[in-house]
Structures are given as structure tokens and as C-alpha cells.
């Protein structure tokens, strides 16, 4: 069981200098929730576009000259890599500048980088996806993967939390996911009159589940405090921490292990992460300011 590490690595076909961006044009912009939009990117270099592939959970470095670079998870289907999507929440300088871009504008892209959700080693198991807010974006490629290979997985549950109903990411896809025998349970912190679903924080949704601890894998992405409680709820149901996978976020500058910014104890989150098993990070997860 301890061998179930998220060490699936996929090194991109890089130019000689890993710091050089590849230019991509924005093919489409889709508004999602307030402050969040999904950008379809198309590489200008046809050979690179054809060769490009990624694994679910990996990220790209997106670059705007004169502004800077930011790590953004890929949110599209890994089996259609030419339809490359990034779902971006406006949070800092670079994402604010991206928000001002129009269709046809160009962005520098380096990647894909990092570890992937271990969808292959989870084959044959029940899967619980647990997302908080924008955390559903890095999980969506894995959701698309299990939909494409639905027969290879057992029971699939998606727990999705948002602050309010209007913040619920990808909600218009939930019914399509449900058609593939996937249980999607959304919950919000604050409801309004229109809301028919649950109210409360995501980890509490575990109380309505009866996961089989011998045969369940958890993929979670969201605020660290949420992922901590997700891990605790999983542990309380005797799901081993080796089968609870989180996606962590740290300052990333280079994404290739040179700049040192994304260190999390023994790991570089750009190389061994961002997807790690809870067992790997447990010794450090409660250390303040680590």
C-alpha cells in the first residue's frame, strides 16, 4: 500500500532552456463564477501543439511579459490535450492581467509540470473527489479521465463545496457527470432562496458516505484547512493516508526545481508535487508556518 505514491511523472518535451515559454493564443474565454473564468489556449507552434500532452493534476506556468508568471493547473480532459483549458481565479498581479486579455491575445506557457492524480493506481477502486471552490479545477481532468474509463472504477462520488450558490464551479456539468453513474453532492457555506442542496463545509459530507476503507481512494483539492479535515474524515473511516491525495499550492517561480520557492519539507511541490499523498505530508501538515 505504501507503494501507492503519486510519483507519476511526465516530463514535457522541452526546448534546450526550460525557462523559455511557448506562445499560445487565447482561443476562447468562458466566464464561470464571479472572478473565475476558463481560458482555452492554442499553441502557436504547430509541432509543439501536436506533441503536447499532460496528465490529470499537472500544471502550466503562464507568463505575461512585463507582468510575471504564475502556476495554474490544467482543467481540461487529458485525452484531448489540444483543447487546453485553464480555469483561473483572479488573485494576484498576473491573474488580474490575464483577466484583462481578450480572445486572440497571447500568453507564454511552460509545462506541463508536476505530479498527477494517480488515476492508474486507483483503478478498480471507489473514488471520492473532494473539492473546495477553485479546487475543483485541478480535479476536473481526473474526473474526465474516470468518465472516459468509467467501467474501470467502482463507486464514484464528487463532493463539491463553494462559499455560495453563485460560486459553485462547473455546476452546469454536474448533471452530465451524474449520467455516468457518479454521485455529485454540492454544498455551500451560505445558501440563498434558490439553493436546494446541502449547506455546510465539505468535509461534513463524509457523514452521509459509507466508504469501504479497503477499497477507496480520495482525491482532494481546496484550501489547506479543508484538505486537512478531509484527510481527518477519511482517516476516521480508516481509509489509509497513503490513499488520500491532496494538491498543494506554494509560491512557484521556476517549476523545474531550481528556484527553491515551493519546498515543502523534503519535497519540491513543482516536482514531487503538487499532488502528494497525505502520508507524505502528514509529519509537517500541522506545523505552523512550515
Amino acid at each position: 500500500m505504501a507503494t501507492k505514491q503519486s510519483t507519476l511523472q511526465h516530463i514535457p518535451t522541452i526546448s534546450l532552456d526550460p525557462m523559455l515559454p511557448h506562445w499560445a493564443a487565447i482561443a476562447k474565454i468562458q466566464d464561470e463564477t464571479p472572478g473565475v473564468a476558463t481560458y482555452a489556449l492554442e499553441f502557436q507552434d504547430l509541432a509543439f501543439r501536436t506533441a503536447y500532452s499532460f496528465l490529470p493534476g499537472q500544471f502550466n506556468m503562464l507568463y505575461l511579459p512585463g507582468i510575471g508568471e504564475v502556476a495554474i493547473s490544467i482543467s481540461s480532459d487529458p485525452e484531448t490535450p489540444h483543447e487546453l483549458l485553464h480555469t483561473i481565479r483572479v488573485a494576484g498581479n498576473v491573474t488580474q492581467a490575464i483577466e484583462r486579455l481578450k480572445v486572440g491575445d497571447q500568453i507564454g506557457v511552460r509545462g506541463p509540470y508536476g505530479s498527477a492524480w494517480p488515476v492508474e493506481v486507483a483503478r478498480g477502486e471507489d473514488l471520492i473527489f473532494v473539492a473546495g471552490g477553485i479546487g475543483l479545477a485541478p480535479l476536473r481532468p481526473a474526473i474526465y479521465h474516470v468518465i472516459r474509463h468509467r467501467a474501470e472504477y467502482g463507486k464514484i462520488t464528487i463532493l463539491a463545496g463553494a462559499r455560495s450558490p453563485e460560486d459553485m464551479l462547473y455546476h452546469d456539468e454536474f448533471d452530465a457527470w451524474r449520467e455516468h453513474d457518479i454521485e455529485v453532492i454540492p454544498t455551500v457555506d451560505r445558501a440563498d432562496e434558490s439553493w436546494q442542496g446541502r449547506v455546510g463545509v465539505v468535509p461534513m459530507l463524509f457523514y452521509s458516505l459509507r466508504p469501504d476503507p479497503r477499497n477507496t481512494t480520495v482525491f482532494t483539492c481546496g484550501p489547506e484547512i479543508m484538505m486537512r479535515f478531509v484527510a481527518y474524515e477519511a482517516m476516521a473511516r480508516r481509509i489509509p493516508t497513503e490513499r488520500v491525495f491532496v494538491s498543494l499550492e506554494r509560491n512557484m517561480k521556476c517549476a523545474v526545481g531550481f528556484c527553491g520557492h515551493c519546498q515543502y519539507g523534503p519535497t519540491f511541490l513543482c516536482k514531487e508535487g503538487p499532488v502528494l499523498s497525505f502520508a507524505q505530508i502528514e509529519p509537517f501538515y500541522n506545523v505552523e508556518e512550515f
Binding site: 511579459p65 510575471g68 509560491n251 517561480k253 527553491g260 519546498q263 508556518e289
Partner: protein, 372 residues
Amino acid sequence: MAENLPSPGEQVVIAKPALQSVFKALDSAGYTLIAPVLRNEAIIYDEVSSVDELPIGWTAETGPGHYRLEQRGDESFFGFPAGPSTWKGYLYPSRLKLFSVSKNGGGYQTVPNQDVSPSYAFIGVRACELAAIAIQDRVFIEGPFQDPHYEARREKAFILAVNCTEPGETCFCASMGAGPRCTQAFDLALTELRDAFVIEIGSPLGARMLLDVEWSFAGALELGRADQKITDAENQMGRTLDTSDLPGLLYDNLEHPRWDDVAERCLSCTNCTLVCPTCFCSDMKDISDLTGANTERVRVWDSCFNPDFSYVHGGHLRPNIRARYRQWLTHKLASWIDQFGTSGCVGCGRCITWCPVGIDLTEEIAAIRDEA
């Protein structure tokens, strides 16, 4: 002529002034010579053309937060402990243009930095510094990605090493297994005797630099003297560090009260990371012209002591000095081993010497060990 040259592994003796002929040979071979020189009341590394520029007859007294030049009263070429300079400043410059990018119609055009990388001959590389270069090789060359700028400089570099015979008060390379004897790859390695250099040949290229030098094979007497000097140096380390299970010690003591104690003293000035020969953290900056149409992307040294180092949207992850010092020391001595299979510390003592308040990592580790 070539058959008259010594082979790798062999040891020869040259008269001290003959070192100038080695400098000349390196210069003729197209190398830019970088060597210790006296500057600004310290011994630093800079470009030289003659052995006369070496700090002959000088040494430095070191201690926590203390560095003072002193006359030795003899004519030693390399009779001083490490100063604030590092070879990393040449292999991994503190500021390097990565590429430039210009607006081109609706898109951008990228021009990579294709400057021909310099060919350096490093003169006087100590064993601890050889170990530090080998550690940075693991970071920049031996991982899944290669930094082409570091790699080019590193592959071209000629290394004239020096077995250390003058450890300083803050040195502990013997504890780290990094010195004082040069064991890692070099082209030539000197051991300084009173009136001669014993030279170990490390590579055929190194041997070729002796073409115009009068040399003879080292005899038992010279070899014995050289060996004794290195052994003496090993026994004169100003400091020691108990390295047993440092990862276990540090990972088990992430909430040790000593971190609060050191945070009271640490100024978070980043000096230790700048003088450290292995610290490799960097940041990337965009520098645009006034039109905004042309941008240079530049890599600059960064430090885990900078508050911005850990910034993610929403705030700094290590707002307090306690967490930053813990990150630095834990990385250096523990997680570095997980990441690169080697400690990040070579025991050169620079971080102790150049800390303005004299924080001594060997003391901090001892305190954590005692009260663990």
C-alpha cells in the same frame, strides 16, 4: 613533449614562482583566471593575470560575525581561510538574463540569451568549495531538468584546487566530510609547502598546463610534508558539528524552543544565504522598457529569509523569522538530504563569519541536540 607530462593521479613538485607559468598557460588556453585577491579589507575572488595579485603573506582572522585581515609574516600564497566570495557567483551568477521578449504584431517574439558563456579557470578552490560545486551540480545538472547556463559554465571551468592548510575559527569541513583534503574532481590540486608546491594531477588537461613549467616527481619527503600539513589542518578545525541523524533531529524538533531563541537574534538579513556556496534559491524578474514593448526576463538570487519568498495570494506563509530560520537550517541539514542525497552544508563556516550578529549553526544544532 606530451610524453614528458605527468599523468592523472601523479604528484609533482614545482618551485613557487613557477605557478606564474601555469597562470600563463591557462591564459593562453583562453581561460579567464579567477583567484583570491585583496579587496575592500577582505580576501575575495576576482579576475587576475599574475600570481603577484594573490594575497601573498596575508591571512584572515575569522569568528562569529568577525573577519579581520592580518599579515602572516611569511610568503604563503594560500595561507588564509575562505572569504565571503564563492565560486557559485561565477557558475550561477547573482543576476542573469534568461531571455528577452518583444511585442510582435499581436504576439511576442522571444530571443533566448545566447551569450557565449565564459571559460573560467578557478584558482585556489578549497575542498569544501569543490564539495559545494558538486552539490550545485546535483541541483542544476543532475536532476530531471538542466540549467543550460550553469551547465555551460561548469563544463568549461578549469579547477585548480588547493588542499586547505589554514582552516579558520569558523571552519568545520572535517565534520561534514567535505575537507580539508581535495578528493572531488579537479584538474590540478596544490598543497603549499614553505618553498614549493606539491601538485596532484587531476586530469590530462591539468597536466597540459605544466608544459612550460619545470617540475619533478614529488619524493617521499615532499609527499610526507604535504600530507602532514593537511592532517594538521584536519585537527585544527575551529568548530565541529555532530552530524548523526540530523534529519531525524530536525524533523522531530520543528517546534523546539530554540527556534524562538534564534529568532530573537536573527535579523533575517539574508547574508548567510548569499555567502553560502550551496544556497541556490532564485527569483525571476521582468524588466521592461518605458514603451512596455520590450522586456528582459532576469534570474536573480533570492533568499528564504526574504519575507516575499513564501508569498502566495493571500499572504506570506512564513511571516515570522522563527519560521524562516527553521526553513533555512532544516533545508540545509535535513531536507537537502531527502532532495539531493547529500547535505547542503560543507562546513565552510561562511554563514557564521558573515552573520552580523554571529549566529553559529553548529551552536544552534548543539543546543537543539542537548535539549531534544
